[in-house]
């Protein structure tokens, strides 16, 4: 459970897709998303499917895990399909294409999250947006925030579990209370969680200060993301594919 959140959906493996720079993956997903929106022809759909399918194969993500990840959107897909069926004229066809398109987008996004650790994603985003810091956007601070969020989700979930347990031990089970008592029950949950979280945040801020963060001198970075030849190749291929799809 704790692992789940820190890792996101990340599956530990060492495929060529895993090894790509997170920036390459982020930019590829962005490019693909934009071009998906312009998909028109059957040929285009087939080409896009080949692309996504190929990446899935390359990523060596177990098929079972991949499909389990898709389950939550099944409802949205079926709703979209039925909606198109009922509302538009050539219902089946347009419905099928829309569902197909969503599936493609979600699949590629899954490849990204299945092969990249959340922290690497954050690092990638930071590097991509770095140029903005010249215009006074606090990119570094946002990156730190993002990292702390990733780091503390499991801790706060744990805290919530602890409070739930403590409340249950006192005999209040949120699920079994009703009416105004339920309001009380939620208060019992929210007040301690807020107080401990604020205390935690204060302490964390102290620690960050004590470790000389933001002393006005800027920072160096230890982990530097580097584009490898793989990234150039993968980026080039992706670009070629996107152009092909647009052409079709």
């Amino acid at each position: 459970m704790k692992d789940n959140i820190i890792w996101g959906q990340y599956i530990n493996s060492d495929s060529s897709i895993h090894r790509l720079d997170p920036r390459t993956k982020l930019l590829s997903v962005l490019a693909f998303t934009l071009c998906c929106l312009t998909l028109q022809t059957f040929g285009g759909y087939v080409a896009a499917t080949v692309l996504v399918g190929g990446q899935l194969l390359l990523s060596r993500v177990p098929v079972r895990k991949f499909f389990r990840g898709l389950q939550p959107i099944l409802f949205i897909l079926s709703f979209t399909f039925v909606y198109h069926l009922l509302v538009t004229q050539d219902g089946i066809e347009s419905g099928a294409f829309v569902v197909w398109r969503i599936l493609l987008l979600v699949s590629l996004a899954s490849v990204l999250t299945l092969t990249t650790k959340p922290l690497d994603l954050a690092k990638g985003l930071e590097q991509l947006f770095k140029p903005l810091s010249r215009f006074g956007v606090p990119v570094e601070a946002f990156a730190l925030m993002l990292m702390i969020a990733i780091r503390f989700i499991p801790t706060i979930t744990q805290e919530l579990d602890r409070i739930l347990l403590a409340q249950k031990a006192r005999g209040y089970d949120i699920k079994s209370t009703k009416g105004h008592r339920q309001v009380y029950a939620y208060l019992l949950l929210v007040v301690p969680l807020l107080i401990t979280t604020i205390q935690r945040a204060e302490q964390l801020a102290m620690t960050i200060d004590a470790r000389a963060y933001g002393n006005g001198k800027g920072r160096t970075t230890y982990r530097i993301l580097k584009f490898t030849r793989m990234d150039h190749a993968a980026g080039g291929l992706m670009l070629a594919f996107v152009l092909l799809i647009l052409y079709l």
């Binding site: 922290l119 499991p154 801790t155 964390l204 004590a210 470790r211 002393n215 160096t220 230890y222």
Partner: protein
């Protein structure tokens, strides 16, 4: 080197936390700061590296002053602080990143970082855990990472603010060992605690009581000059033992030595 000059502090004016504190800490000392809940110990620690600024008086580290915003970076570089709760001072998602964090802030060149990280992790015996994530570590291990993160910044003073109080006996012993090793390497150690057993090995004890300095001197003199229980504290076992057996010999760091030598002497 670290000087408190007539320092007053309060969060709200009607409740003074620290009053008229003046003392000096010298390079290489091992100092224990003791006092009951609410005596102002933790506030004192935060004043030492400029996390808080005195309302009156000043806190100076050689020529640097915590009241001067331009000095704060330099002060925090030289005065490291380890807090009580290991969970709330793990900022990043891995041991390596955690130790690197402070170095990045100090703009340490990249080539030097790896070396410093290794050295710091070795100092706390965590070199095998560089890739570990916080939730895979015990409280004691997390606390040692927090120490490594500060050690890597190569401070000259390290403050431990009740850093042992949330750990099991083993974890506590490990942290105390690390503290003494660092002290032998020349660091000034300031250990804030209410485990009275831990203060006997200090060079000097400061006793805070209701924001005032009730004692400043070697641990052996503390128990004869102050009534400890009046300050929310209890006598350490060694002192209770001396009293029960009517031993007049000076207080040893380890009471076992006293007992052995006195027994064989008779």
């Amino acid at each position: 080197m670290l000087v408190f000059d007539q320092v007053d502090y309060h969060y709200r004016r009607e409740h003074p936390v620290l009053q008229q504190l003046s003392f000096e800490i010298h390079q290489g000392e091992f100092i224990s700061i003791i006092g009951g809940n609410g005596s102002g110990k933790s506030t004192l620690a935060k004043l030492m590296n400029g996390l808080l600024q005195p309302r009156e008086g000043q806190v100076k580290l050689e020529h640097l002053n915590t009241l001067n915003p331009d000095d704060l970076g330099r002060i925090r570089e030289r005065v490291g602080l380890v807090f009580q709760n290991p969970d709330d001072q793990f900022i990043t998602t891995s041991v390596l990143d955690e130790v690197v964090f402070g170095l990045e802030n100090l703009r340490v060149p990249r080539d030097e970082m790896a070396h410093r990280v290794n050295k710091a992790l070795q100092a706390v015996h965590m070199e095998d855990y560089a890739k570990a994530m916080p939730h895979q570590l015990s409280g004691g291990q997390k606390q040692r990472v927090a120490i490594a993160a500060v050690v890597a910044m190569e401070p000259s003073i390290m403050i431990f603010d009740e850093a042992t109080s949330m750990l099991d006996p083993q974890g506590r012993r490990d942290i105390l060992d690390v503290m003494h090793t660092l002290h032998q390497q020349g660091l000034t150690i300031i250990h804030i605690t209410h485990h009275m057993e831990e203060i006997l090995s200090a060079d000097r004890v400061l006793l805070l009581s209701k924001g005032e300095m009730a004692f400043d001197g070697p641990p052996s003199a503390l128990f004869s000059s102050v009534s400890i229980t009046e300050h929310q504290l209890t006598l350490p076992f060694a002192v209770r033992l001396h009293q029960a057996l009517g031993i007049n010999a000076p207080l040893c760091v380890d009471w076992k030595e006293t007992i052995t030598s006195l027994w064989t002497m008779s």
